[in-house]
Symmetry: C2
Subunit: 218 residues, 2 copies
């Protein structure tokens, strides 16, 4: 089901780049794991990068209970969350038509504190699975003190839109005759060889999810 | 010279991650090229991803004159711009101590319109050099109509701070005895083989800056 278009999520410019399809939006959110959270305090804007997870129709962010950002957000103020995946540089024949291939999602709403113990654990599990699938089963689970020290916020995925640009440059018709290379330089996030913690015993080998880490979904 | 610390740029939590050194901040800004611009309209927050360039002590962003975002920003409202580079996933022995290695910069200020023709051209040149060094010389320069249709904003790099996390996980002392792999999965943005524009004549070869594209600075 598509997201309803609201005044804030309707693109005024290049409307053909606007996407309201829930499946596509969720694929973008599931490939990314870092978002930028914007909010205003006394009219002044703040933007904070942080990790996130999507589970169902909720976006979860979490952090220390001490964080002034999370304290501010848990008060139920308006937030705008952006997730941006950069797919390539679009090199046109004219400076003017250079562009970037990207997929981005913007979410408007109000975050709510996840307070109930089981819901909080479920959100942290979802967070872990979102960033490193399989990791949760291998590690020491949070104890009661750690759970208390962690603030988890959920943001309903209600007012959401995506923007997508793909494909080659689009030049002015007369510029196609110019002897200038044009095309796309694809970009992606690639994981390298995992580095062991210096205090790790030699007998413990890196798990498959660390050796073959990728954000691309099959 | 260090950036002065202000109330907004002073980290309340984990102050050791705060960085105010201008050289380090500029290295982060020069490696990135996508920022998230936050601003508030009638108290409601908006976050927009966009390209940027640093030149001297200014950050430049640009876009179509039609863009409602740029129109709003050019009115001299407060903005908060974040640039985030993700360097790795930090896998600890406990779920609680999982983290991310990153370098991020946050800039507060008010953007100003770059209106004078030569200054606008210089900013667009800086933008092009920042994203694809060497490209500007190869392409058709903006004509007067394109220049007019482009809005360029500059944001002074005055109130700026960085946050950096590097290195292995930091676990609770008693957890180091657990038989759990721990370490870092490094992440970076990698360019693939450039793809030619479908309308490109076969005789035109991709330039070196497209074939060996990298954000890493030597």
């Amino acid at each position: 089901m598509d997201f309803p278009q609201t005044q804030r999520t309707t693109l005024k410019r290049l409307p053909k780049r606007g996407v309201y399809d829930r499946d596509l939006v969720y694929r973008i959110l599931d490939e990314g794991f870092v978002c930028h959270v914007g909010f205003a305090v006394e009219g002044r804007p703040f933007v904070i990068p942080t990790g996130y997870a999507r589970a169902g129709d909720q976006l979860y962010i979490h952090g220390s209970q001490m964080s002034r950002t999370l304290r501010a957000l848990s008060g139920g103020i308006d937030v705008c969350v952006a997730v941006t995946l950069v797919d390539g540089l679009v090199l046109a024949r004219s400076a003017f038509h250079h562009s970037v291939n990207y997929r981005s999602v913007v979410i408007f709403g109000r975050a709510a504190l996840v307070e109930e113990r089981e819901a909080k654990l479920a959100a942290l599990f979802a967070f872990s699975e979102h960033v490193v699938p399989g990791r949760w089963n291998d590690v020491r689970a949070p104890n009661e003190q750690e759970l208390k020290a962690t603030t988890v916020l959920s943001l309903p995925l209600d007012e959401v839109s995506a923007k997508v640009r793909t494909g080659p440059p689009v030049d002015d018709e007369e510029d196609y005759a110019l002897k200038i290379w044009a095309g796309v330089v694809p970009l992606k996030i690639v994981a390298g060889e995992p580095t062991n913690d210096p205090r790790l015993p030699e007998s413990i080998e890196a798990p498959a999810y660390a050796i073959r880490y990728t954000r691309e979904k099959v």
